[in-house]
């Protein structure tokens, strides 16, 4: 006779599907997960404390190093927050270039997240296709900024480099390539019966749970909770940005939403390129004394910087709230509860696009 017993199932800190170390402790009844806990602390950086007392010229570089996957948005939000302390104006062209870079960063981050998911559910072919396509986005980042990860492109009062007409044409070609290839891959994802079996109705996350845990980004939007910071950003308003929402709140809809957002990002970049007028890209400006709180939409959701500086622009106090803090908590306490196979624990966890580097800032 089959006997079901309570089992403690620790996963990690080192696991083939985890990009970064963490330990999930599941309590299971058979394979049915009744509750889960998360253990962090393997890669704590203490970056907020490192920033205190340093001038803004150093802090803007440190901010990028909070996360290696979404470094651009940390740079973007940190600088925009600092600009608000002294009302530093930003030229229009630079504003559009910032959006171009941010959306390219979103594309590569979403592709990496979806690669990880496909790899976790053992669809390695599609995973490798996605990882290969991510290289196009990384090349586009390198084309504009000269670097792939820590670009340091955004500075107070503008951006570092302009986009020449030749580079603009190359970028358009890259966007076309991303769109055409991704259409094919999304078709593969939608048509894969095994993918649907592993993803649909797994890791359910309702809208109410998303509100309760303050879930953000694609994880919340896949549960029909619209809290996209781009809706309130002045330049995105000019681009008539509208967020994409899905209803199901399962693994499948979280992955599908990221695919849809990649198409949206390529569209936004094209709109920027069309609307961008020639002009200066940096107006200059230095940071003085003051306090500001500013949020931006990272690939994983709302990223908030609360900065307080002294008269020389040295950081007196800084707090960073990254989206993974909310999303990982939501995943561990809501999505994993009720998963009925041990194999689905890792895939559900990866579907929330967890970033331990952000969480352990």
């Amino acid at each position: 006779m089959k006997k079901i017993v309570d089992v403690s199932l620790p996963i990690g800190p080192v696991h083939p599907v985890f990009k970064e170390p963490c330990r999930i402790k599941c309590v299971t009844n058979g394979e049915y997960v009744t509750s889960a806990e998360l253990e962090l602390g393997y890669v704590k950086k203490g970056i907020e404390r490192i920033m205190v007392g340093r001038p803004w010229q150093e802090v803007m570089f440190l901010a990028e190093r909070v996360c290696g996957i979404c470094s651009v948005i940390h740079n973007y939000v940190c600088i925009e927050g600092m600009e608000r302390i002294n009302d530093i104006p930003v030229p229009d062209r630079a504003e559009y270039l910032r959006v171009v870079l941010n959306e390219l960063d979103r594309i590569q981050s979403h592709l990496l997240a979806n690669y990880s998911y496909c790899y976790t559910i053992e669809h390695e072919t599609l995973a490798m296709y996605l990882l290969n396509l991510r290289e196009t986005a990384m090349d586009a980042l390198e084309l504009i900024t000269g670097a792939r990860v820590t670009c340091s492109y955004i500075i107070p009062g503008g951006v570092r480099f302009d986009l020449t007409p030749e580079k603009e044409n190359t970028l358009r070609g890259m966007l076309d390539h991303i769109d055409s290839e991704l259409t094919r891959f999304v078709h593969m994802f939608k048509g894969g019966s095994m993918i649907a079996l592993r993803s649909k109705d797994v890791g359910m996350f309702t809208r109410e749970e998303a509100i309760e845990s303050h879930s953000v980004g694609p994880t919340a939007r896949a549960s029909n909770l619209d809290n996209d910071c781009r809706l309130f950003h002045p330049i995105y308003k000019k681009l008539e940005f509208k967020s994409i929402l899905l209803d199901d709140g399962d693994n499948y809809s979280r992955i599908m939403l990221r695919f849809l957002e990649i198409f949206q990002s390529t569209k936004l970049i094209r709109s920027c390129l069309a609307q961008m007028e020639p002009g200066i890209i940096r107006g200059g400006g230095i940071i003085g004394e003051g306090t500001s709180k500013w949020s931006g939409e990272a690939p994983r959701g709302e990223l908030t910087y609360e900065i307080s500086t002294d008269e020389f622009g040295r950081v007196k106090k800084i707090s960073i709230r990254t989206p993974s803090i909310m999303n990982i908590e939501a995943c561990v306490h809501y999505m994993l509860k009720g998963v009925d196979s041990a194999a689905d624990v890792t895939s559900t966890y990866i579907s929330s696009d967890p970033c331990i580097a952000c969480n352990e800032r």
């Binding site: 620790p10 962090l40 907020e48 306490h333």
Partner: protein, 130 residues
């Protein structure tokens, strides 16, 4: 009873999480609201919560704060019942319901509302300090 092999002592890491600037602000508000000392609240949080929930305390508090309306005069609102049972689950639903029930009984027995709420707060404080 489920036990894990290779358990780490997480107190030090949990304390680092609770020492972040955002946590300091949230904990200060909670301590003032319920009249408990910060170290006692920290200990309670570290005993009850896992690290992901500890990290998410400021965001969860923000959600509760947004839900509140100034016109709400209920006892649940005065106790912040949903805050300490749902958003930051320091008390179980049963414990909270029992305190609310006792407070309601006192008010219906002719007790003034303000001292009754104050006594309810003392009961919450006792649970938090236990």
């Amino acid at each position: 009873m489920v036990t894990f092999l290779y358990e780490n002592d997480l107190r030090e890491m949990k304390l680092i999480i609770l020492s972040s600037p955002l946590h300091e602000v949230t904990l200060k508000i909670l301590c003032e609201k319920y009249g408990v000392r910060r170290q006692i609240l920290r200990k309670k949080l570290m005993d009850l919560f896992d690290m992901s929930l500890l990290e998410n305390i400021p965001a969860r508090y923000e959600v509760w704060e947004k839900e509140q309306t100034e016109t709400d005069q209920s006892i649940e609102h005065a106790f912040g019942a949903s805050l300490i049972t749902r958003q930051i689950p320091l008390l179980t639903e049963d414990e909270m319901n029992s305190i609310i029930q006792q407070t309601n009984d006192k008010i219906s027995a002719g007790y003034d509302k303000i001292p009754a709420i104050s006594e309810g707060m003392t009961m919450i404080r006792e649970v938090l300090s236990s």
